[in-house]
Every structure is written in structure tokens, then in C-alpha cells.
Symmetry: none
Subunit: 403 residues, 2 copies
DNA sequence: CGGGTCGGGTCAAAGGTCCA
DNA sequence: TTGGACCTTTGACCCGACCC
């Protein structure tokens, strides 16, 4: 309040106080701009004119009346009026860099206020994404969606192994882009390509009664997804089993994040930790509050990363094909498959998010988080009811056979 | 910016005395702020950035010139400059309650927006402030001490801070490649650039007697390496400690692989697991044969990957800057630093190993393995003798101070 | 006890975005 | 493309604790 001397231009909104008028057009002024009380319209007009050094031409005699109704009739005279009332062109600054979506750490409660505060920022965000990707994303999505029905002359034909081999296809129409076949293979055919969509009916992790059943369903879908990867069957059967056993819980968590399923702490606590069963105390890995929160945290981090369906597909493949797993008979082949998956992801991100150079690396660096909650823990949280009799390996095996 | 209205924008009223210049933008400084002579603009900018943990993105190559006319063109580079001239983020205090001064009439809208804007206000207070201030009082004295010796020719004359600034330098000889400077900074100065070379004398992990001492030495070098990363000090002091505590064991394993140090199972067994001490049985994490073998396996996998020194440097930075770590005050800033590291690695690999398209992804995907052996385990294996009295955090802290 | 320094906060007037 | 309603950021200025 350094300007206490003059009449404070308090812009009362819904009243007829001392409404200050724009010196240029007589509209209600929104404050002092470039040295003069003006409305937002004249402010913006003056700024644009100066910034871009525009020279207008009056079609009349350089004496058009400028008022709120006619201010847009003649730009030349409007600008002339601006100067006449002493708007200061030197107060117009250079254009700045476009405002970057300044994400701060949008965790937990802060995200709420942010969402409240700027809802259009979110729209803007998605708009920008769409705008940025308009050229390449749209066609890609279409292809993925219709690939089941479009046998893709060269690639798609029958089920077995072959068409995953060249994962970066030089023969791709627009130059080195992600193989459509690979994308299709790694993405479940019935997978919706838009976020926020719940793909499975009858899944609701938020309800205690539904928890076990839903979890089984998710796991089943995961296994089915794995079986949908043709190259998976290139591996020795034993390696298939090992990879599945080694990776199921990470894939499970990824699915929760991918399908935006709710992770309710209270529900999980009720289902997993709190009920004290006598035999539980013997087991070493007890799933406590900390693990549940950790899981929630992990899922939130993945959601915050705004990962699209194609990326999830690649990430899941990367997670599945862990070449370092002990006991593999064909570690080299597994490595090759992981290479395919990660290279596809990299290629895709370069194409679809060219402005986010670090996106690919970031995604890969999120994967270790999936191990922050052990599979034993996940088992206890989600599958305890189911597994009273069936060990996890058995469940996986059964699912794998019947999927 | 209220001076722009009528008077000339230059407030060079009585330019008497040698006007001191802002170290960031060269404007007239209004005093020392956060440890450095700056103008009010840069002071406010720095404060806002730190308070809200903002992460800006440079649209260019992270080397925008910052002067009084262009300081608002690129927030990313402006903040970078702030850190380069050593503004101390720990001197920025928490937001306080709005001034208690009797407020006069505010419109409802105004009140609401204000309330929204500052949400976390009243809590912290003197205790935290004191704690925080304790850290930044010291640097003040230092600056006072060395300012007589720095007559402001260029910014820095004496200390070594400078060489990490632009990590992707356009002036790099072969065009946009990894900055030699950054690599140099991330690599210990006396580090040999060729593989297989043993950098430290007196380190021999293969001998039981030398094990502890050598391990301490390796850890010390690791800590020293961390301290050699200038950007590490951009982080809040507390975050520095958290990251070091969270990452030391992974860095330690990486160093073993990097320097080709032997991992002898028998030696480690003798030193760590086998001798049954009574107090050991109480501890939960016992380091057994399995963990030792796992460690050996991990190290072998890294060696087999033929990682060069630059890559190791980047990987270590990637491991160090874990943005997901719980408790960080500036997670966004950490993320930015990790982004820098991984993007540097990617750039380097594309340049140096153009035929290995998947190399970058592979390296990142090796990192989860470093967690297969817990830090508790590493502690037991290598530091048990040392740590009978000293807890690990203490050891790290001491090393960090003296490195 | 006054003046300098450097934390804090304030808010006019710059900036920007985006639909009509 | 331009206008203009609406929101964020900047920075000159003020307050106050603390130290000479």
C-alpha cells in the first residue's frame, strides 16, 4: 500500500462505489497499468501493440471516438488515445518464457487445494498434452485399438512367437517408431486406451468384502496379460514360471496404479493386519500400517507420473523380463526381451513426449519403488483369505494354465 | 515495480558511493540476502522458489544469460545462478503467519484468496526457526570473512565452486555432448579414467585384517565424491543427510564394482556372519551366506556390463538423488538433479556407444539390484568392527564433515 | 539509543493463459 | 487472431529482531 495518497482503486465488484474509469475508453478500470488507470482490455491492447511493435492505420481521419462501445472499431485511434493519456510504453516488458507447468510436489493434501485453486490448469495440462501429441498419439492409439481386427499384413497372423522379434521396425512407415505389433501384443486386446477407465467389472478394492475376490481378479488379468505376450512362450517353461513368481506382485501394483483402483488404508488394514490370527504371529513378514502406507504412496507416485497405457504395457514387460533373476535357464533371452521392451518404451516416449526428454529415464527409475513392498506383504494384504489353503505359486500356476 | 509509472525505470537517484551490484543479475544490490549480495528481486525470487520447492524448466540449454534486463526470461537459469553464487537455501525460513497488523476491510474474494494462498502458517515457529537459523548463521560469518578478499572482479575468485554449472555445455567440442566439466565434477579429481585401475592404496577387501579399514576407506571416498558434486549443496542440509543415509550402501556397492575390488566369500563370511556373537542373535537382520553370495553376484553383473567411469559417475548420481525418499523437504529439487544425472548418462551413451541403443536403459535397469542386499547387511558385512560403538549415521555424518 | 543488516511480509502492477 | 476476464509472479517498500 505504497500509494495511499491517491484514491485507492479498490475494485469493488458488485456495487456502484466510486468506480474508477478507464482513462482510455471509460470502461471500469481494473487498476493502474503502464502508468494510467485503465481497464484490462486497454491494458492488453496496449501491451500487445507495444510488444509486437504494431503500426495501425486509421481508415478515417485519425479522430475516431474511443469509448467502451467503440474502442474496437479503430485500433489506430485506440492506441493514439493510449499515448494521449500518457500510457508509458517503457513499462511494457519483454515477453517472458511461457509459464511452465510448475509442478511442485503434489502429494497428499496439497493436491487438493491445488485442484481447487486452479481447475483450468488441469484442463490446460491435458489440452497441452493433446496439442503436443496430436500428430502422433492419435494415430498410434487408433492402431493399437484396431490391431486385433487389423492383421497388419506382415506381422500379425497367428499366435505364436515370431512377430515380436524386430521391436524397432525400420520399415515402419514414418521412420523408426514403435512397432505396432509389439504394442498390440503387449497391450491386452480389450484394454481401454484412455485413463481413468475401469476395465474390469466387479472390482472394487475399497470394499472389504470384495477385496479378496477383486484382488484375485486383478491377478488373473495380470496373468492373462502375461500370456498375451507371444514372446513369453519363447522362454523355457521353467523360466516362465520363475519370472511370473518373481514379478507378480510388482505387476499387481502396476495394475492397481494403471487402472486407478483405490487403495484404502482402512480397508487394507481390516483385511490384512489387524485381525490377530494365532498362526500369523509365527510368520516373519507381517504387513503393518507402514507397508500399507508405503503401497499407497507408491501407487500415488505412479499416478502422479501420468503414465499412459502404452507406457504401462512396456513397463510391465520390463518388470516381467528380469534377466538378473536367479535360476533362469535362458537369462540371455530374457535380457533380450527386456531390451525390446525398454527400447520400445524409449522410442515411444521420444515420439509421443518429445518435450519431456527425461521421461523415459524417469519411468525406468520408478520401477525400484515397486519392490518397496515385498510380495509377501502384498500376499498378506490382498490374498490372505484366498491363500489359507493355496500357496501363491500354486495360485499363479493355476491361473496361468487356465488363463 | 511501482517506480515504473512516472519516473524513469532506472532508480539511479543519487548514485553516490560505489553501488554494490547483485551477484545474480547485476542490478543494484539492496544488501546481503541468504548469504549473498543481491537485489530485492533476486532475493524475493529465491525465497519464493525455495519456499515452494519450485522446479523450473529451461526452454533452452540451461545457460541463459542472467542480467537485470533478462533475469525474468528464464526462471530455471535464474535459480541456477542463485545457487551458483552460493545463495543458501537453508537460510530461507518457513512462511510465517500473515502480519497481525490490524487489517482493514477486505473484500470477501480477497479474503478467500488470501486464505487459500497461505495455508500452512501458524505452526512452526521459533523452535524451527532457531534450528534453521543455526545453520545459516555460520556461513554469514564466513562470507564476512572472505568478502574483504573478494573485491568483486568477477563473482568468485578463490573457491572452486564453478565448474559444474552447465552440465550439458553447448560449447563442448563435439557439439551437444556431455559436459566434461560435469563429468569431472562428478568424478573424483584424482580418479583414474581408465578401468581396472585401483585408485586407492591400501585397499584390499580380500584380506580379513584389512577388510574393515578398507571398507571405511571406500566409504570415505564415496562420501568425498558426494561432496564433490556442487549441486548437492543446493539441497537443504537435512535432505543431504537423508540422501546420504539412504544411498550409501548402494553407492558403496557401486564403488566396489567400479574399482574392481575383490569380493571374497570366505573373507566376508569370516568377518561378518559366522562368528556367533551373543548379541547378534537378537538383531533381526542377520547377514548370511545368501546375502554374501547375492552381493558377489550383483558386483559380477555390474562388472560384466563393462561400465565406464563416466557411466559410473552418472549412475552414482542417479542413485544418490532419489526423489522418492521419504522425508525430503525439497523432493522436487532432488528429482531435478536426478533428471540431470540420468539425462547426462543417456546423452553420453548415445554419443559414446551409438551402436548399443539399449545400453542406457540397461544401466538404469541394473540399479534395483543394488537393493537386493540391504544396507543393514552391508553394514554387518563390512563395518561390524568399526561400528561396535559408532552407529552408521554417525559415521557418515563425521565423514561428511571431514571429507 | 540510534542506525545498519537481514530475516520476515505486502500488494500494485508487471506477467501469463485461454475461451469466446 | 484479438479481446479481456482472471490468475500468478515480481519487486519496491515496510516491519522488527538483533547487533553493534
Amino acid at each position: 500500500m505504497s500509494e495511499t495518497d491517491s484514491i485507492a482503486p479498490r475494485r469493488g465488484k458488485a456495487e456502484a462505489k466510486q468506480t474508477v474509469l478507464c482513462k482510455v475508453c471509460g470502461d471500469r478500470a481494473s487498476g493502474k497499468h503502464y502508468g494510467v488507470l485503465t481497464c484490462d482490455g486497454c491494458r492488453g491492447f496496449f501491451k500487445r501493440s507495444i510488444r509486437r511493435d504494431l503500426a495501425y492505420q486509421c481508415k478515417e481521419s485519425n479522430s475516431c471516438p474511443i469509448d467502451v462501445a467503440r474502442r474496437n472499431q479503430c485500433q489506430a485511434c485506440r492506441l493514439k488515445k493510449c499515448f494521449e493519456v500518457r500510457m508509458n510504453r517503457d513499462a511494457v516488458q519483454h515477453e517472458r518464457a511461457p509459464r511452465t507447468n510448475q509442478y511442485k510436489h503434489c502429494t497428499n493434501e496439497e493436491i487438493r487445494s491445488k485442484t481447487l485453486k486452479r481447475k483450468q490448469v488441469n484442463f490446460e495440462h491435458s489440452n497441452q498434452d493433446i496439442a503436443t501429441n496430436a500428430t502422433h498419439v492419435a494415430p498410434k492409439k487408433e492402431k493399437v485399438l484396431d490391431s486385433p481386427t487389423t492383421p497388419e499384413p506382415g506381422y500379425y497372423g497367428n499366435s505364436p512367437p515370431r512377430f515380436l522379434v524386430g521391436y524397432v521396425t525400420p520399415e515402419s512407415p514414418k521412420g523408426g517408431t514403435v512397432s505396432v505389433a509389439m504394442t498390440a501384443a503387449i497391450t491386452p486386446p480389450h484394454t481401454p486406451q484412455h485413463r481413468q477407465q475401469m476395465p474390469f467389472q466387479m472390482i472394487y478394492l475399497g470394499s472389504p468384502e470384495m477385496l479378496h475376490e477383486s484382488a484375485v481378479r486383478i491377478l488373473f488379468m495380470t496373468v492373462k496379460w502375461v500370456r498375451n505376450i507371444p514372446t513369453f512362450f519363447e522362454l523355457p517353461f521353467r523360466d516362465q514360471a520363475i519370472l511370473l513368481e518373481e514379478g507378480w506382485s510388482e505387476l499387481f501394483i502396476l495394475s492397481i496404479a494403471q487402472w486407478n483402483l483405490p487403495v484404502e488404508i482402512s480397508t487394507l488394514m481390516a483385511a490384512a493386519g489387524v485381525s490377530p490370527q494365532p498362526n500369523e504371529s509365527v510368520e516373519r513378514v507381517i504387513c503393518g500400517m507402514a507397508e500399507i502406507k508405503a503401497l499407497k504412496n507408491i501407487v500415488e507416485r505412479f499416478r502422479a507420473a501420468d503414465i499412459d497405457q502404452t507406457e504401462y504395457a512396456c513397463l510391465k514387460a520390463v518388470v516381467l523380463f528380469k534377466p538378473g533373476t536367479r535360476g533362469l535357464r535362458a537369462p540371455h533371452h530374457v535380457e533380450q526381451l527386456q531390451d525390446q521392451a525398454q527400447s520400445m518404451l524409449g522410442e515411444y516416449d521420444r515420439q509421443s513426449y518429445p518435450s519431456q526428454q527425461v521421461r523415459f529415464g524417469r519411468l525406468l527409475l520408478m520401477l525400484p519403488a515397486l519392490k518397496e513392498v515385498s510380495s509377501k506383504c502384498i500376499e498378506q494384504m490382498f490374498f490372505r483369505g484366498t491363500l489359507d489353503t493355496i500357496p501363491m505359486e500354486r495360485l499363479l500356476s493355476d491361473m496361468f494354465k487356465s488363463a
